[in-house]
């Protein structure tokens, strides 16, 4: 559809709506609006954002596809319960400011969520339009609309901050959960300090998710809002090493602490050759490429990264896709994605799988490395893989991969990236007596994100193992409201009666 056709269609629809409304049948006929993107060949050579965003016409047309269901099944799928049908109605009317206000009632970082939320398994999974077409990709593109509205938000709205309460809050980790928790506790008038171990704030949003999926400037904008609200930011601060939680509370006067330190240690496969030169965890590969800007090595950046010709990425999640697509951009000739099950079982978003393929990543499904082979200099030269077939479903509901004996074969590569998840970082555990952990090393919390220590709350990956950005934000919000309540009671007690 050309721009002109799109505009004409929108005009016709709006007139029809004025004349007596659009019937569901009319709405079903509106073609789903694809996201405009950079050309795959072009973008494989740059780090700019792949999806360039809806125009106003795209957005209003897409919004008109929404049936405005009374039951709003989409909201049930949203972890933070954004009033989805209301904001979409505002978009269709062209009142984008109103749309944003509605979104912001529940979500703090719409520009981020609109980009990285897995809408197809959340709000869009239950969308009536998608169900009608029996195709989740034909659901109303709630995420794209959210992003469109958020990106229009040029004038920064700085939330109002309540008068000073005299209470001090420490937020540990400046990832999505920490950002939300910091904003919400600061709004209540507390003196909030946000601690970050890296030299830059944003957590996984800046070290993990690549620029081409989530531009750093968008995250920085959110951080700037925090600063303007009066949140103090301290980088290069490793809680448990620079100061312990106990010290923060007993010596530094913090009344409440939120722990949002993220995932922690990368998981390796435990196979032979995994420490050879050229084997990376996805965390390391992405951190070098993203946060440290290794793509500019030699023209400014000081952090090197492998100059790879042939790369194998193992895993099937978003992080695996991000790693593979980063390798493409760093100039690898061949990038293979090796996964034990089939594409159907991949935890990655359909969109990311699609993008990876468009950019030339070759999928090797039903295969998994058995060992990594190196030369006399301990440099990777190949991986030896086993072929797999699918058996009965396991506890996760996905069919279990079963290795086929004797099916070994080799793929020549010089770089291997392991993207099979993380395990909990033991640092807080080792340095915080009295804090309760489960057997996987994750912090135990109640429904208010409260831990076993008074005044200490936690959320995100350190609690749930592997969560999504939006879930971490949701927990940051829950924890903040519990902290605000706790601090209000505490300050009441402190008042002379």
């Amino acid at each position: 559809m050309t721009d002109k056709e799109r505009q004409e269609l929108l005009q016709r629809l709006l007139e029809k709506q004025k004349d007596g409304g659009l019937k569901p049948a009319d709405r079903y006929e509106i073609p789903p609006q694809d996201m405009p993107e950079q050309d795959p060949v072009e973008r494989a050579r740059n780090v700019n954002e792949v999806a360039t965003g809806y125009t106003e016409t795209h957005a209003r047309l897409e919004a008109l596809r929404c049936l405005q269901c009374k039951t709003a099944p989409c909201i049930k799928g949203c972890p933070v319960k954004i009033k989805i049908q209301d904001f979409i109605a505002a978009v269709s009317e062209g009142d984008f400011k109103k749309a944003l206000t509605i979104i912001k009632e529940n979500s703090l970082l719409p520009a981020v969520c609109g980009r990285v939320c897995p809408q197809e398994v959340q709000c869009q999974q239950t969308c009536t339009v998608g169900l009608k077409f029996k195709d989740p990709t034909k659901a109303v593109s709630i995420g794209r609309l959210e992003r469109f509205v958020a990106d229009l938000d040029q004038e920064e709205i700085i939330p109002t901050v309540a008068p000073n309460t005299g209470m001090k809050v420490a937020i540990i980790g400046s990832g999505p959960g920490g950002i939300v928790a910091a904003a919400d506790t600061r709004r209540a008038g507390h003196d909030v300090t946000l601690f970050e171990a890296f030299h830059k704030t944003g957590g996984v949003l800046v070290y993990g998710i690549p620029e081409f999926r989530l531009p750093k400037s968008i995250v920085q904008k959110e951080i700037d809002v925090l600063t303007k609200m009066g949140v103090k930011i301290v980088c290069n601060f490793v809680v448990g090493r620079t100061r312990t939680i106990e010290q923060l509370m007993k010596e530094d006067g913090f009344d409440a602490v939120y722990i949002g330190v993220g995932a922690g240690l990368p998981r390796f496969m435990g196979i032979e050759g995994e420490s050879l030169v050229g084997v990376y965890s996805a965390n390391e590969y992405l951190t070098r490429a993203n946060l440290m800007k290794a793509y500019d090595f030699g023209s400014g950046a000081d952090t090197p990264i492998a100059r790879s010709q042939k790369v194998a990425v193992t895993g099937g999640g978003n992080v695996a896709m991000d790693s593979a697509r980063t390798a493409v951009r760093l100039g690898a000739e061949k990038v293979y994605l090796v996964y034990r099950r089939t594409e159907k079982e991949m935890p990655a978003r359909i969109e990311e799988v699609h993008h990876a393929k468009q950019e030339g990543v070759e999928f090797h499904i039903l295969q998994s490395p058995k060992r990594v082979i190196g030369d006399e200099n301990s440099h990777v030269t190949a991986i030896e893989c086993l072929k797999y077939r699918l058996g009965e479903p396991d506890e996760s509901g996905r069919r279990r991969p079963i290795p086929i004996e004797g099916s070994e074969f080799q793929i020549d590569v010089d770089t291997v990236i392991i993207a099979i998840g993380n395990i909990a970082n033991p640092l807080i555990r080792q340095t915080t007596p009295g804090l309760e952990f489960n057997k996987w090393g994750n912090i135990v919390v109640d429904e208010n994100c409260k831990t076993s220590l008074e005044g200490v709350y936690a959320g995100g990956d350190i609690v749930s193992g592997a969560a999504t950005v939006i879930l971490a934000m949701g927990q940051g919000r829950i924890a903040a409201s519990a902290m605000n309540k706790y601090l209000a009671e505490k300050s009441d007690c402190n008042k002379p009666c």
Partner: protein, 288 residues
């Protein structure tokens, strides 16, 4: 938050020391720990450096580093009053210190820097300290006086015989191990190859040997795994699980290979920097 360099000095041709402001690190730091330093927020690389000493009251730490690549060279070109963009720490697990009896502290080259606070702590815990310090030549022996002040016995070796004994550190180490009152513990810190050979010696005598590993790092908090080494066939993260390990279990050969992973790129960056400093006359300034 930038960290001011209070004072800076050259210890030998390529080894420098600086006292820098880092109040929280100075308060928290224990022997065996290190910091991660980067010189530029946007583009700087993150490198681990040993904390050689700290003045908690003054809020300063002392770093010692060897000029081997771009960042260490850039750091060497900085002067008192200049600011280091980022200093994170203290990182790593502190050294386990107890009264073992007699401890041999073996330091190679720049390894004397991390070794010194450990030797001091061991002395304080009541150990008898025998130190063996080695380097290629006299010029490169650092911190001799500081060691002399705390050691019960001090042996110096140089490869070229320009100072002390003409030998590798492993020679006197073997002799000390042969003594009737065999040492109870050995701590060896230096180039990977030196630690490897020290461990081969002490293994023969069955003397527990602690080494401190200086791998490539990114975050220093356990998040990337880039610092991993093979201990007894298992991957361990240097920044979380130590830097100290049972030397008899370390796969030094693999560690040496991993240390050289970016050799070509590091060389390019270093050359680029040297060209740049010639152009802007930094080389002259530093020669003064």
């Amino acid at each position: 938050m930038p960290h001011k360099i209070v004072s800076k000095r050259r210890l030998s041709e390529d080894v420098f020391t600086a006292e820098i402001e880092a109040r929280l690190v100075a308060q928290a730091r224990k022997p065996g720990q290190f910091v991660i330093v980067s010189l530029n927020n946007e583009y700087g690389e993150r490198i681990p450096l040993t904390i050689a000493d700290a003045e908690p009251k003054r809020g300063t730490i002392r770093l010692i580093w060897q000029r081997v690549g771009k960042t260490t060279a850039e750091l060497a070109d900085m002067q008192a009053g200049d600011e280091i963009a980022n200093v994170t720490g203290p990182l790593g697990k502190p050294t386990h210190v107890e009264n073992f009896g007699t401890v041999v502290c073996v330091g190679g080259g720049i390894g004397n820097a991390p070794l010194l606070p450990i030797a001091k702590a061991l002395k304080k815990a009541g150990n008898k300290i025998i130190s063996i310090l080695g380097a290629r030549n006299k010029e490169l022996i650092i911190l001799e006086d500081e060691f002399a002040a705390i050691c019960d016995e001090l042996i110096i070796t140089t490869d070229d015989g320009s100072y002390g004994r003409k030998a590798l550190v492993t020679e006197p180490l073997e002799e000390v191990c042969r003594r009737d009152n065999k040492p109870d513990q050995v701590v060896a810190i230096g180039p990977a190859i030196m630690m490897k050979f020290c461990c081969e010696v002490t293994k023969k005598f069955n003397i527990p040997t602690q080494v401190s590993l200086n791998t490539i790092m990114v975050d220093g908090t356990g998040m990337c795994g880039g610092c991993r080494v093979e201990i007894d066939g298992q991957a361990k993260f240097v920044c979380v699980d130590s830097p100290e390990f049972d030397g008899h279990k370390v796969n030094f050969d693999l560690m040496i290979k991993r240390l050289n992973a970016y050799k070509d790129q590091e060389q390019e960056a270093y050359e680029q920097y040297n060209e740049h400093r010639c152009k802007i006359g930094l080389d002259k300034r530093n020669a003064e």
